[in-house]
Symmetry: C2
Subunit: 230 residues, 2 copies
């Protein structure tokens, strides 16, 4: 496998995907065209507009982008493509669309066969075991929460530390992940913005500028450094 699962597409104050440029040149070596999966639709952006935005970035590294929504036969399109990118947005909408069109398993099979895959945020959630550690609002009801399981754990993108100054009683991210662990025995990688997971064949590491917080059932959460194996 050859995959990159990022916490976010865009660093605060940065340009879309800019901080990952060198990584993406490496990920997509030898690939001149990829399929973009726009179904998560952040802020309700149209599939076309989202694909254009992604195309603008990939032009700068000489890769053409086609939106998966443009194809009549999406399964054939996935099977014929040499690489993939799933953008962020709403994970419920993304997972619902992928399951309803029978695309989740087709994408999984192609990626497990070695074709490069990039996910950001919701697109990283679907690389995990299931979507039960997304931060998104359940705006639609997917037929299942199961995901591709490209890594043997779940991801919490945009991981955010508790803010002690916030006078608010909504749950912190850590509380939510601990609630997940009362119901599921699956490791959770709390991926802060600036970090990503890189899998090359059997080797899985966490990369980027921040420490990464790891949660497991019956354990105190702990931090690991960039470059650590997962």
């Amino acid at each position: 496998m050859n995959i990159l699962l990022a916490s976010t597409s865009t660093l605060f104050g940065g340009e879309y995907l800019a901080y990952l440029k060198e990584e993406l040149i490496d990920l997509y070596q030898g690939v001149d065209e990829i399929i973009f999966i726009p179904f998560a639709r952040p802020s309700g952006i149209s599939h076309d507009d989202y694909t254009k935005k992604v195309g603008s970035f990939f032009e700068t590294i000489n890769i053409k982008v086609k939106g998966l929504h443009e194809f009549n036969d999406k399964i054939e399109a996935l099977n014929n493509s040499k690489g993939y990118f799933t953008g962020g947005g709403n994970t419920f909408l993304l997972v619902k669309t992928l399951h309803e069109e029978n695309l989740m398993s087709v994408l999984k099979q192609n990626v497990e066969n070695g074709k490069p895959y990039l996910g950001c945020s919701a697109g990283s959630n679907i690389g995990g075991q299931n979507m039960k550690t997304t931060n998104d609002m359940p705006i639609v009801y997917p037929p299942s929460f199961d995901c591709m399981g490209l890594v043997p754990f779940n991801i919490n993108p945009h991981y955010l530390d508790p803010n002690p100054e916030l006078k608010h009683n909504g749950e912190t991210r850590e509380t939510r992940i601990k609630e997940f662990l009362t119901q599921n025995d699956i490791k959770v990688v709390g991926l802060r913005e600036g970090n990503w997971i890189r899998r090359i064949n059997e080797k899985i590491t966490v990369e980027g500028s921040e420490l990464t917080r790891i949660f497991g059932q019956g354990k105190e959460p702990y931090e690991i450094e960039s470059g650590s194996q997962l």
Copy 2:
């Protein structure tokens, strides 16, 4: 109907349910025992411990509390009870349990027949049309997102304004609710902590110390004052 749907059980720095004490004396007039629904289990607290915590508060207003989990026949227990309280925690876990045990419709029927109902946070979410505007993490997969529809809109509890100082690219609450409105034509009441919805027969008002933010499809969000009708 005679219901109170609160954003939160506990104000920052306050005691459990303390800010609602006078309201609850009014809500439960003539009722000396209620059933508490503990299934949302905040931070994974046990049903027993959660029920004890709730019992301690209700002692101060001379109301006995029994946990719904204590009954073998939960449907009969709901039908025999004179009032209800559903506590906060994880809305997915709450809704899954209520649907799997066929309790959602039984509770709805009893409340629609006039028995007093209090919900806090997740317990307020289930008073809305569906749970698609919860803030909670989808730690379990419920058989449906449908809720009781005690009010003709959805509720977003713990509504939080965007923090301009946060250098983070996760979605704001407003962005999430707007994404909901791209997929659903249901009004959303953004209920800030300190506020609650009160329904007495046909009259539905928002009460409490803060303004309340209203979201609708194709409209700019707007604010209404405490005491306004919904």
